[in-house]
Symmetry: C2
Subunit: 253 residues, 2 copies
């Protein structure tokens, strides 16, 4: 069966998922493109629908409903200008924050990060460095925003990414995780701290910096000798994660 009408109830439902409100009402989000759909199907996430265009043939396996729609309809439901005509509609997972916090773990707390490309890149980088979880707090952009998911390149399916509240900082500290907040006026550089034990890096808003200072053990900065006054927040995140990784590799030699 081929869906040809914009008035079809499933098409209407998927259209809603482009907005945050619609996503949370339905408990669903979507990813687009062959690679992201594969990542979804190979993950523990529940894929409800795989939506394909008129002439797309797939050999995906899994317990999902396959829906074929008129090519023209993709423009109505996609977040991109030139849709790839392959989409997965996925159920939001439920994580218990407490279960994710391991004593020797590495964590990212995104505090009011607004730019979807930045948050997506942070998630991708966190995945590359084997981070245990990414938490978003204080009005950060929605983790299921299609632009976040696109920049994360499927990493949302590899590591736990959880929209939560400032409480997570208390929970991290209770478990003995050292909480570092990035700050230009910090007194010490990232490489001067011992990052081999459990660590969490709180990354602040692109313009205003970190807003949650509760539970922060120390401020941390990146050695900059040039004229640019700041780094992009996703660049800062990467440097913290790299430095932690480097120290752990040297320790385990």
């Amino acid at each position: 069966m081929l869906i040809t009408s914009e008035d079809n109830s499933l098409i209407k439902k998927i259209k809603k998922l482009r907005e945050k409100k619609g996503r949370y009402e339905e408990g669903l989000f979507f990813v687009e493109g062959v690679n992201s759909v594969k990542e979804a199907l190979n993950s523990r996430f529940k894929v409800e629908y795989v939506i394909v265009g008129e002439h797309v043939n797939l050999d995906y396996r899994g317990n999902f409903k396959l829906i074929r729609i008129k090519d023209g309809l993709f423009k109505k439901i996609s977040d991109t200008v030139t849709p790839q005509k392959v989409m997965a509609v996925v159920r939001m997972p439920e994580f218990r924050v407490e279960d994710l916090i391991k004593e020797e773990g590495v964590f990212i707390v995104a505090d009011n990060i607004q730019d979807p490309g930045n948050l997506g890149t942070i998630i991708r980088t966190a995945d590359a460095f084997g981070v245990d979880a990414v938490f978003t707090i204080n009005n950060s952009v929605d983790i299921y925003n299609p632009k976040v998911l696109r920049a994360s390149m499927g990493s949302i399916f590899h590591i736990p990414v959880v929209a939560t509240s400032e409480d997570v900082l208390f929970k991290l500290k209770e478990k003995g995780i050292k909480v570092f907040a990035t700050h230009l006026k910090a007194e010490s550089f990232v490489h001067e701290f011992d990052l081999k034990e459990g660590v969490a890096f709180v990354l602040g808003n692109e313009a205003r910096g970190v807003s949650s200072l509760s539970c922060v053990d120390d401020f941390i900065k990146i050695p900059m000798t040039g004229k640019a006054e700041s780094l992009n927040v996703s660049i800062a995140a990467a440097i913290f994660l790299y430095e932690s990784q480097r120290q752990r590799l040297i320790k385990n030699k």
Copy 2:
């Protein structure tokens, strides 16, 4: 005097600067927004015109022509959806590659980098770490592309950024600079190399990697323990520059 018509010759000239061809014909490029215009005026670059909207008042000083235009005209010449109504038209500088290569320097070679946001972020990060020059080769996106300039946040005015050819790799090597190319299949990690002497990092295309292997001393990779297969190229650049910076700081202690 207020320019009100799209047919004005200056407006026509600036419109051309949105395209690479027009920029190189005129030898000019433009930056938008109060901060970038200030950076341009505080730099050694020659600012030809500062263009402002009907009600913008500035206290900029310098040897430039101040041009006031009808607010509506900004949409015709700007690269953004909501123009800031302040723009500087700047003459392209001329650099001699040889003059920029210092023996103990740090250099970035962007090899066929396509995404303007990536190149702009690389330039901003290079500036933050006090890099001596950024060279682009092999069909990288134009350094004066408005989207590159926007992501670079004014850093183009702080460090030399030069569109050149693969020859730059020979020139670097001649001066004793160690040339590293990023490669997923490299045998050694970035922190295992001595990056305290003169170094150049060749960063490859987002999908295809480095294309210029001439003069490469060694391949270099970033320690990744997670599931993401790669990092964004601007993230990789930042980690190389941070590691080089870290080693130099420790050496100088």
